[in-house]
């Protein structure tokens, strides 16, 4: 697919994400606390800041990453695959979960094509587990 129609929307969402940590009360500002006084901002709770999120455009059929987000997600998934491969090479393949066995087969087939990484909705939860395990935060956007 052609990513160019998505780019203006992507920039708008990224700009909003960059602003979030500067707005008190957004839940992302360093001074935002819950009623018990614990910080709410994700970056203060071991999670990526919104400004560091990758964007995934999604509909019922697919999840799409574009441009540098596509490269970043694919690199993370390939690193996840390397870690799985080390486990397999230790003859510990039987210890892999069903999700890990799926990803071990699926990740080598992934490619960024013309700046787009497309993940089918039917496999999304498997990829999502790997993306989160690699420390990447996500902001979802409806695919126009």
């Amino acid at each position: 697919m052609d990513p160019s129609p998505l780019r203006p929307l992507a920039e708008e969402v990224r700009a909003r994400n960059r602003l979030l940590a500067t707005i008190p009360g957004s839940g992302h500002h360093p001074s935002d606390v819950d009623w018990r006084g614990r910080p709410r901002a994700p970056q203060l709770n071991g999670l990526p800041a919104a400004a560091d999120h990758v964007l995934h455009f999604h509909d019922d059929e697919r999840h799409v990453f574009i441009d540098r987000d596509a490269d970043r997600v694919l690199d993370a998934l390939r690193e996840y695959h390397r870690q799985l491969a080390a486990h397999v090479n230790d003859n510990a393949a039987a210890d892999l979960t069903g999700t890990q066995r799926n990803l071990y087969k699926l990740i080598p087939r992934l490619k960024v094509r013309d700046g787009v990484l497309e993940l089918p909705a039917g496999r999304w939860n498997d990829y999502l587990e790997a993306i989160y395990q690699m420390g990447i935060g996500l902001t979802g956007v409806d695919l126009p």
């Binding site: 009623w35 018990r36 069903g98 989160y132 996500l138 979802g140 409806d142």
Partner: protein, 155 residues
């Protein structure tokens, strides 16, 4: 249903006084119905005189703000991690803009002070979510408080 059971949890979601917030939700894949098995909610309030929070267990069409949009995508955790089938439903927690359109199935008051509620659907009264439709937990608390809980579902 082939007993592919998953749990979707949410932890310490901050609620703002008198503001309805959808704290967890799932959406069935287009061609795969889902059976909702369990819901739970608990609160960490410490003021015994505070009024209860209103918890709505509800269906949702997800005409707007499907899981992942204006919400944090959640990985449904398989009860049986050895199974290879990819979970088809999508899930999320902590909506920042409410999804539409919500229809409340079961509302209940749950105390903010040490309140805990865990509902397990009986076999005779399942809640089946059609393909493409959703199920959410939405909470309105009279005071700022945090909530934790889960949904369980089967594909």
């Amino acid at each position: 249903m082939a007993a592919n059971i998953v749990d979707v949890g949410f932890r310490s979601v901050a609620l703002t006084a008198t503001t309805a917030k959808t704290v967890v939700g799932l959406r069935a894949a287009t061609n795969q119905a889902v059976k909702v098995l369990e819901q739970s909610v608990s609160f960490d309030g410490a003021t015994s005189s505070n009024a209860p929070a209103v918890v709505d267990f509800a269906t949702c069409t997800f005409g707007a703000n499907a899981p992942g949009t204006n919400s944090t995508s959640a990985t449904p955790t398989k009860r049986e991690p050895g199974r290879a089938e990819t979970t088809q439903l999508t899930a999320a927690h902590t909506w920042t803009t409410e999804p539409t359109t919500i229809a409340v199935v079961r509302p209940i008051d749950i105390g903010q002070y040490n309140g805990v509620y865990h509902y397990i659907h009986p076999f005779a009264s399942p809640h089946v979510v059609a393909g493409g439709a959703g199920f959410v937990t939405r909470i309105t608390s009279p005071n700022n408080v945090n909530c934790t809980g889960h949904l369980s579902a089967e594909e």
